[in-house]
């Protein structure tokens, strides 16, 4: 009887609901991963067996491998530049009065909710007016704008919890400004800086819209994938999609673990 009572107390409707939502969120991704290992080119059930043939195909395809290289360059550059700009700006924002701080953060967050399509065509028009050609560099410059708000958000959240009395104490004890920064501020904010850098890399690797309008011939991995979607039955797309997915989710996963307030 007691066991029955405990069984009844389990919130089954809640568990079912959360399970259904998570299943809905991850099912499409799981399907792409599953069919990337399919031995048949057909993308339908019944499943006919496992094979690595699509991975062999994409890793020996010069077009795909080159695109992977470009995507890697874009991700690393975006990550580094955003982390530097975001950390500096985060340190600057902490020193402001709370009213100015609110206004600065509000403007800094605009690119996060501004539609990517409109930003991308704006960039395309801008480059045309400046006479700058479309290239990987042009795309990276835009992707930095898109990930900067996320980096700034993570860094300023960390700095908000930072006790500045530590710095004052160090300065009172005779430490120079740079020495205090290097030995106190930096070690405390470093996990957030690295975490947000990984997040920026994930955003860049997955980014499609800015790349579509500004990369020109320098096609990144999502652009190659897009180019193949309209060609009928190209099962290598599943493998490209899985590679993209594994890279971005791994980066986002590590980043979220490093930066989330409540550790798991």
């Amino acid at each position: 009887m007691r066991r029955l009572a405990r069984w009844r107390r389990v919130p089954w409707p809640s568990i079912l609901y959360v399970g259904a939502v998570l299943l809905f969120l991850f099912a499409p991704l799981a399907i792409v991963v599953l069919f990337s290992f399919h031995s048949s080119p057909r993308m339908a059930f019944p499943f006919q067996g496992f094979s690595l043939r699509w991975y062999e195909e994409i890793f020996t395809d010069v077009e795909v491998v080159r695109a992977m290289g470009r995507s890697a360059i874009a991700a690393v550059t975006t990550g580094l530049v955003t982390a530097i700009l975001g950390t500096l700006a985060g340190l600057g924002i902490v020193g402001l009065s709370s009213r100015t701080k609110g206004a600065v953060m509000f403007f800094a967050m605009i690119p996060m909710s501004f539609p990517a399509l409109l930003f991308a065509i704006g960039l395309a028009v801008y480059y045309r007016e400046l006479g700058v050609g479309f290239s990987l560099g042009a795309t990276i410059a835009g992707q930095i704008i898109q990930s900067l708000p996320f980096v700034l958000l993570v860094i300023s959240a960390t700095l908000d919890r930072f006790r500045f009395s530590l710095i004052e104490a160090a300065r009172d004890l005779g430490a120079g400004a740079f020495h205090a920064f290097r030995t106190i501020t930096l070690p405390i904010i470093l996990p957030a800086v690295l975490g947000s850098m990984l997040l920026a890399m994930a955003l860049s690797a997955d980014e499609f819209i800015v790349a579509f309008f500004t990369a020109g011939q320098d096609k990144t991995l999502p652009l190659i994938m897009y180019g193949r979607i309209n060609i009928k039955l190209d099962p290598s797309i599943n493998a490209i999609g899985t590679v993209l997915l594994v890279v971005t989710s791994a980066l986002a996963f590590i980043s979220a673990r490093r930066t989330s307030k409540e550790s798991l």
């Binding site: 809640s14 568990i15 609901y17 959360v18 939502v21 998570l22 969120l25 991850f26 499409p28 991704l29 399907i31 792409v32 993308m43 339908a44 059930f45 019944p46 700009l85 975001g86 500096l88 700006a89 340190l91 600057g92 924002i93 402001l96 800094a108 605009i110 690119p111 909710s113 501004f114 539609p115 399509l117 409109l118 930003f119 065509i121 704006g122 960039l123 028009v125 801008y126 007016e129 410059a141 700034l152 997040l199 994930a202 997955d206 980014e207 499609f208 819209i209 999502p222 994938m225 897009y226 999609g241 993209l244 997915l245 971005t248 980066l251 986002a252 996963f253 979220a256 989330s260 798991l264």
Partner: protein, 281 residues
């Protein structure tokens, strides 16, 4: 200026310059372009309002705008409801596991934009996964044409991609309402759903509004999802804008459509915020 103010200004300078040069300036140029004239396949800085006249009076574009607002409103509303209950359940009912259940959502938010659209394409296709599963279990005899047939596939795919964007602000807003307040309401005779509606909803309403607004903006400017999952009758205004920057090759008209979209969104969502603020007070 105090010395630490100067330091703060210097620290903010690089990011500010970068923002102005690569976000502010491009958008200003885009607005300027919406007044340009198209001549012999070239765009010249000759002031004209023709692009706006076309964007605002043409029956075709009005149809696109109305369809876009309808699809976005449905998507954002469904997301707000699903996200509210997800946040509610993980914050209160499954409280012990809330960090983990939130973490899953957070991770799924970053990555997989194109991969998801592609996945839905293969799920909904005539020879796709949904049809092959339904047919092999004998539920249907003939394949259903779910793709390029109405807005269903587009809305499902957009809910799938933008749901985390809705959960984020609602979950954050709920962290300010303790489980004690819910228990108190239940002790006073409120049902579980009643507690959700009467106690949590008003307190989390700001989060729900932000979730609706974020997803509405994001979906109203969608173009890839309708392009890959919808038929010609389901295309959104983003598709028209992208077309003018591609095969249509009329950038000034595309720019005018883009500016119009931003103005429409700002007016609608500004009105929404005003209504919600009055209601809460």
């Amino acid at each position: 200026m105090k010395p630490n103010r100067i330091v703060a200004a210097l620290q903010l300078a690089p990011a500010s310059v970068y923002y102005s040069a690569l976000f502010g300036a491009p958008l200003l140029v885009l607005v300027a372009y919406s007044f340009y004239t198209t001549e012999n396949f070239d765009f010249v800085p000759e002031f004209t309002l023709d692009n706006y006249v076309t964007a605002w009076t043409s029956e075709v574009y009005r149809t696109y705008f109305i369809r876009t607002l309808r699809i976005s409103a449905i998507t954002a509303a469904v997301i707000a409801v699903v996200a509210f209950f997800y946040s509610y359940v993980i914050t209160y009912t499954l409280r012990a596991h809330r960090s983990l259940l939130y973490f899953f959502v957070l991770v799924s938010m970053f990555g997989g934009y194109l991969v998801r659209i592609y996945a839905w394409r293969s799920i909904f296709g005539t020879e796709g996964i949904a049809n092959s599963a339904l047919m092999s279990t004998g539920i249907i005899a003939e394949p259903l044409d779910l793709l390029r047939n109405g807005e269903f596939a587009i809305i499902i795919a957009m809910i799938n991609f933008y749901l985390p964007l809705g959960i984020l602000p609602i979950y954050a807003a709920m962290q300010n309402v303790g489980p004690g307040q819910i228990e108190a309401a239940q002790d006073l005779g409120s049902s579980r759903l009643g507690a959700a509606g009467k106690i949590v909803l008003p307190l989390a309403l700001r989060g729900v509004t932000v979730a609706f607004v974020f997803t509405f903006i994001a979906t109203a400017a969608e173009w890839l999802t309708p392009q890959l999952l919808g038929g010609t009758e389901d295309q959104m205004i983003g598709n028209r804008i992208a077309y003018q920057f591609g095969a249509g090759f009329d950038w000034p008209l595309g720019a005018a459509l883009a500016v119009t979209l931003v103005v429409v969104l700002a007016v609608l969502l500004g009105a929404l915020f005003t209504v919600v603020r009055r209601w809460v007070r």
